[in-house]
Subunit: 262 residues, 2 copies
């Protein structure tokens, strides 16, 4: 069983990629909607929240945890790796950085994300640790999250804003653009359209799903047994219609979502 | 001394209006930036936070309190009026509703605000309580706050979004549009431009400042003494560069802002 968490609904874009490659592996999702946004909270607070969520996912039987939140990945992934040595922890930042390093040929890449993520320089650091020859250009695109939340994923207004945000990155002639925020895959068409054919737009979710599959394929018998046991479970700390509507849009189907206080 | 609070930076648009009419009355501002947004929190929590802030403002010597946050006005203004009978409490929702009722001639008005404010129907209720002949049309414009936060107050992207949001209200031929969110006055030019000359665009801040002036003018001697005592003070529960930059933009000058935990 795979446990996945995010501060809100964005992590469901990672769930979607995982379900594509591993349709039979049950997942438990937790969205910390009562306490979002994580972006402006201290490291200590994010670590505390993350540990509470991991405890919950562990109690649900998860031995593999996916940190599907950029802020929590940046500030708390190493902390929970140390605190829970018995669990296998994946996080979107590490995976995103690896995906970029493997994809680029020109060694000029771009990363977009929220203001908090971009200001933390975490992607720049991780990518250049993997390959110091890579030049990383970044751009904070704070309105993208709100455009997704407003469900304006195919609107001309959104395309206009994307053109404004991405203008400088286009001029840098990057060959790879990482979507460093789990909301952004919902704008992939618009972003790819603006960047043009020569730039490959990638998200962490796909690469993360591939890695999970590779590791889980080593244990086929166990997976088979588990997948029979039960379906996917979705939990949030505060349930709104808004969440349910966005969740349905991302997953492409209605999911039963339960509210739970940690 | 006047105490003013908001969940964040938006209430400073109200401060600006008050300083225009009452330049010599010292104010104490509190922005609850560590706990924002208020929009998605429960009534109980908003009342608790509001009372904590009023206690703080009272300890600073304020006998007049302005609730410059729409959510707190809707959910907690009556609660603090009852809890602090010795204080004079003003709130942006009551004042905004009065301003609308006084301004409209056609009895067709519009109110725009955040999703939480519009869904609460608080303006509709207050306005029709004042004049049951008034037809109130509302529209949530959630992206406006984020466009202001991004400092895109004069951009073509923002104008395009405003045209989309306001299309239906324009068709209703309203003669008055209330900006039911303290961030929106920063978009007044764009909003007025989109609505056209026949619609008067109003914000609560101006009317609130007029009422304050009317009441304080009854006690000129006391004000004169107090205004000598000290200048304005600005407090927030979490201080970021972002807040300082926006505060400067709204107030038109740099203000010394202190962080304080309640």
């Amino acid at each position: 069983m795979i446990g996945i968490f995010d501060s809100g609904v964005g992590g469901l874009t990672v769930v979607k990629e995982i379900k594509k490659l591993l349709p039979d592996v049950p997942i438990v999702y937790f969205g910390d909607t009562a306490r979002l946004p994580y972006g402006n909270k201290s490291r200590e607070t994010i670590q505390k929240y993350s540990a509470e969520i991991v405890d919950f996912l562990k109690s649900k039987g998860c031995r593999t945890i996916v940190v599907a939140c950029n802020t929590a990945s940046a500030l708390a992934a190493d902390y929970i790796r140390e605190k829970y040595p018995d669990l296998k922890i994946y996080d979107v930042v590490s995976t995103g950085a690896e995906a970029v390093a493997e994809t680029t040929k020109s060694k000029k890449v771009g990363v977009i994300g929220t203001t908090a993520t971009i200001n933390s320089s975490v992607y720049k650091k991780k990518i250049t640790e993997l390959d110091s020859n890579i030049e990383v250009f970044t751009k904070a695109c704070p309105l993208f999250v709100h455009l997704v939340e407003e469900n304006w994923t195919r609107r001309p207004e959104t395309r206009k804003i994307a053109r404004t945000y991405l203008r400088d990155l286009k001029l840098k002639k990057i060959d790879t653009l990482l979507l460093g925020c789990t909301h952004y895959p919902l704008l992939e068409k618009i972003i790819s359209g603006v960047m043009g054919r020569r730039t490959k737009v990638i998200a962490s979710g796909e690469k993360l799903a591939e890695e999970l599959k590779k590791n889980l394929d080593k244990r086929p018998a166990r997976i088979a047994t588990r997948s029979v046991a039960g379906g996917d479970e979705y939990f949030v700390s505060d349930l709104t219609e808004h969440f349910e509507r966005l969740a349905e849009k991302i997953l492409g189907k209605k999911a039963k979502i339960e509210k739970i206080m940690l």
